[in-house]
């Protein structure tokens, strides 16, 4: 049931025929985990909170630094030195007080990934390390929770939606790539908003657009490139033998 304030707050999305009250109610009872509230996570968290996802867990082990402020728009100068999850919870709660926001001050590892994502309908990637992503990926496969991968650097970004048992997972690819290349702030915002949109579609029960597809955005030539990707039947994480 949506109350009077919610009908007003979400009016612009309730007007969308494919969305409406039914979808809004689904969002209201949903739980999403956002792993990492840096450049990607700040943007995806903001839009998922604004859209009315009822329960959002934000996970990060970092504190706010001056060098974060070119892209991590939930943090301001006055927040430098504070825990990111604490600041993000306060600001997101001011944006939409009806949302339950659970801050978790932790680094995602193989040991804690499963317990952190337990009970979520969707996990949204906002991390900045491959090993943490692989731990999260494996936990999502084990618990059959969709995982929306996003990664950025410089003027470019990538994204795919991993549906356990259906699509390739992150470990299928032996992925390689450098870190710490720097990034222009609009790129994580762009990729994170696509992740948030994909998350909304998953919560609504719609077919996700990037399941089994890899999106690459190049801000140098402004091209979106989308490629089909398939499972690695020998993948140690998501192969059928291990899933069953």
């Amino acid at each position: 049931m949506l109350d009077r304030d919610e009908l007003v707050r979400y009016d612009r999305q309730l007007r969308i025929p494919d969305f409406g009250e039914a979808a809004q109610k689904k969002l209201k009872i949903s739980h999403v985990v956002i792993a990492g509230v840096g450049g990607l996570g700040c943007a995806s968290a903001t839009y998922l909170v604004a859209a009315g996802v009822g329960h959002i867990t934000i996970v990060d082990f970092d504190v706010v630094e001056l060098s974060n402020l070119n892209r991590q728009v939930l943090y301001w100068e006055e927040d430098i030195g504070a825990k990111k999850v604490t600041v993000a919870q306060k600001k997101l709660s001011r944006l939409n007080p009806t949302i339950e926001i659970t801050p978790v001050w932790a680094e995602i590892t193989e040991q804690n990934a499963s317990s952190i994502i337990s009970g979520a309908q969707v996990v949204v990637d906002g991390l900045d390390k491959l090993d943490a992503r692989l731990a999260l990926n494996a936990a999502c496969i084990r618990q059959k929770i969709p995982y929306v991968y996003g990664g950025v650097s410089r003027f470019r970004g990538m994204m795919t939606t991993i549906i356990p048992g259906e699509t390739p997972c992150l470990a299928c690819f032996n992925p390689e790539g450098p870190r710490g290349l720097g990034v222009i702030g609009m790129i994580p915002a762009l990729i994170a908003n696509l992740q948030a949109l994909e998350t909304i579609k998953l919560l609504m029960g719609q077919k996700p657009s990037l399941a089994g597809k890899l999106l690459r955005f190049n801000g140098n030539d402004f091209k979106f490139r989308i490629y089909d990707i398939e499972k690695n039947e020998a993948c140690q994480v998501c192969s059928q033998g291990l899933l069953s």
Partner: protein, 125 residues
């Protein structure tokens, strides 16, 4: 020169003028099917061949880009703006990064050289 191409997980493995039959060397499947777009038979056979005009690494990469363009796939490892490797890709010759070999992209390839063209993922957040 002849290039025998093996699409891998997130990469192409290319043997230049191989002396014998090229196999997939234990790579079980192809999970980026679009890598096979210019050579559909590679999906079944696992490997494919291309004829390259020129004998440099640059000539090889340019030939590959042209083949993908003809197949309607946007795959351009050499960035036309910088005339160097695009940052979405990396290339190794016999396991050495191209920046560490003499002449870089203009290095001449020899019979049996193994070129690995990798698609890079992005990890920053």
């Amino acid at each position: 020169m002849k290039a025998v191409i093996t699409p891998g997980f997130s990469e192409l493995i290319i043997i230049v003028n191989p002396a014998g039959k090229v196999t997939r060397e234990g790579l079980l499947n192809i999970n980026m099917p679009w890598l096979c777009a210019p050579w559909p038979e590679a999906r079944e056979e696992g490997v494919c061949e291309a004829e390259v005009e020129g004998d440099t690494l640059r000539a090889l990469l340019t030939t590959l880009a042209e083949a993908y363009k003809k197949a309607g796939v946007d795959f351009e490892p050499i960035n036309p703006r910088t005339n160097d490797m695009d940052e979405d890709y990396d290339v190794l010759v016999n396991d050495k990064n191209y920046v560490t070999i003499p002449d870089g992209l203009n290095a001449k390839l020899k019979d049996g050289d193994r070129v690995k063209l990798k698609i890079l993922w992005r990890w920053d957040g």
